[in-house]
Symmetry: C2
Subunit: 338 residues, 2 copies
């Protein structure tokens, strides 16, 4: 993958791809009937769906996992849900995302070596099954509606397991390659070390995607290591919780210090909230439970991440990314949640 | 007031004036410090604030009312709040709305004749005190920041009390005149009869404002009677509760009948929601507690009311309002909540 393609995928991170997880979206038939995710949400840009592997891990309502697949209780209605490679691929196919992900097993941090090794074996086996299922489904699609299937590399922070998993996943062959199983509590340094080790194992000609990351300092370090795309809930989840990202540092808008402030959240920002509202007003919205607060800060944080990614692309194109990123990582040291 | 001015005020109803009630907005000092309501909210168009009289009535946490004013427990923190003509005027002045309202006593429906008569006497006395207080405050304002003070006519559905109150309020003299105390359970016919009786008692050279109304059929009947402006929570409150107004009839978006619908809420509508989302998707947002549902239907209902008011102005200008309105009132008969 040359630098130019990297730029395109970099833009996708916050601006063009809205990531979603299949098992959070009950009723794939209803969504498929309403024009798939694009028609259902009104978002005409690219969609990426996750397979449900991470969500099974994060919701921890697991009741059974074996080589075949997983069975768990829905966090919505308690119903027993069966998910495996074929089902996860089929659901994502029907949802109609542009990029869909292999079904994988994500391990917690820390985890026993045995458990990680078993998860890696399953992730490889399931990737093979996903590709086979995808081939069958993909043949039903028209040429202008082609989905991409990405493989996922697991292996915790163990170099040997990462190497083994990456080798097998690349051999199976996918449209893009993701590094999964990070941002689960291992901390910034472990994460960066694992990313720097794993990225060179993935082909440059295909997009390389770091899942569930992250804070600005994490993204800068991962791009430096060669990562092309990301997904993360931070801009909107933090926005809903009154936390604003700014180039000048974090703002927690519930704090009384903002009560009288007539400043925008981030001076110079062109987002809707910064153009129309003072910090004092946004603090009032949060403290009085007015949904305008979460809306405005979510918009602001997305705009902040768009600017961050645009700056990353600009400095890659200018050829001075490494020097610029080093300074930026100092600026965003507060986002290093190790 | 000629037809042209009526058009301008008609536009104000849903598009340009956002009504608010002083006692719902604790912290007028904070808001004043953040640039008043215009600066605080980012809404640069006209603002109208109510005096708190109706809110005292509707919240029913009254503990004392006499000729001096009212004392009640705040619905927010339970603190005792004292409100009277001077305080209500002063708060609204500091909030910086373009139009502020006299402090009045609103009676429930039905109410004893004695109670309504006492409320009318107080409303007249308080209007006099509001105008006096407003004169003192108004002299501190610059010429380009002039507020308008509107008087309010009370009197329930009793023609004699309405006549007496209107005569006194007009004699005191205000920038505009409101009909208060309706839309409190008296029903469409009683409301229309009272409006038709009261409007001719108010000078044509000043805007005439029907407070807290209403459904499309109520607005059409009131404009026919000569009313120029309205305020109402219906577009947004109903929107938040999954109720959509359309020219083809009401839609309740939680109903399962909409689950598979790929139609927009109102075909042909240019609002954001109708341009981007199907009924089936909006139903899903409501059923899953996603705030996009209330947002989209609030926007749609506001757009619906803007179109209704634009059509009213157009037919007033064309000179065929009465014939057109008669047909429209048939169309919106379902909004007659008598």
């Amino acid at each position: 993958m040359d630098r130019r393609v990297k730029v395109v995928f970099g833009q996708a991170v916050t601006a063009k791809i809205i990531a979603d997880a299949s098992d959070h979206l009950a009723g794939e038939d209803a969504i498929a009937g309403l024009g798939g995710l694009h028609g259902f949400t009104g978002w005409r840009g690219p969609w990426l769906t996750d397979s449900g592997g991470y969500q099974v891990f994060s919701l921890s309502a697991l009741t059974r996992i074996d080589d075949e697949g997983v069975e768990f209780s829905s966090h919505i209605d308690g119903a027993r849900v069966h998910l495996n490679a074929e089902i996860a691929t089929d659901i994502q196919h029907r949802l109609g995302a542009d990029i869909i992900m292999c079904f994988d097993e994500c391990t917690p941090f820390p985890a026993d070596e045995d458990r990680i090794e078993t998860a890696v074996k399953r992730t490889i086996d399931w990737a093979r099954r996903c590709k086979r299922e995808f081939s069958v489904l993909g043949s039903q699609l028209s040429a202008d509606n082609r989905q991409l299937l990405f493989g996922i590399v697991q292996g915790g922070i163990d170099p040997e397991l990462r190497r083994r998993c990456a080798g097998q996943i690349v051999e199976i062959g996918f449209d893009g390659y993701a590094i999964g199983g990070l941002s689960v509590g291992e901390g910034h340094d472990n994460m960066v070390r694992t990313v720097e080790f794993t990225v060179p194992l993935l082909p440059r000609a295909h997009p390389r995607y770091l899942m569930g990351v992250g804070m600005p300092v994490d993204i800068l370090a991962a791009v430096r290591a060669g990562v092309d795309m990301f997904d993360c809930v931070l801009p909107t989840r933090n926005g809903r919780n009154a936390f604003a990202f700014t180039e000048q540092g974090p703002l927690r808008l519930r704090n009384s210090v903002h009560g009288d402030s007539t400043e925008p959240v981030e001076p110079g920002c062109d987002c809707y909230g910064c153009r129309h509202f003072a910090r004092g007003a946004i603090r009032h919205f949060f403290n009085s439970g007015e949904m305008l607060g979460p809306i405005l800060l979510s918009l602001h944080n997305l705009r902040f991440y768009q600017r961050l990614m645009a700056n990353i692309r600009k400095h890659i194109e200018q050829g001075d990314f490494d020097a610029w990123a080093a300074a930026e990582m100092e600026r965003y040291a507060w986002t290093d949640n190790k």
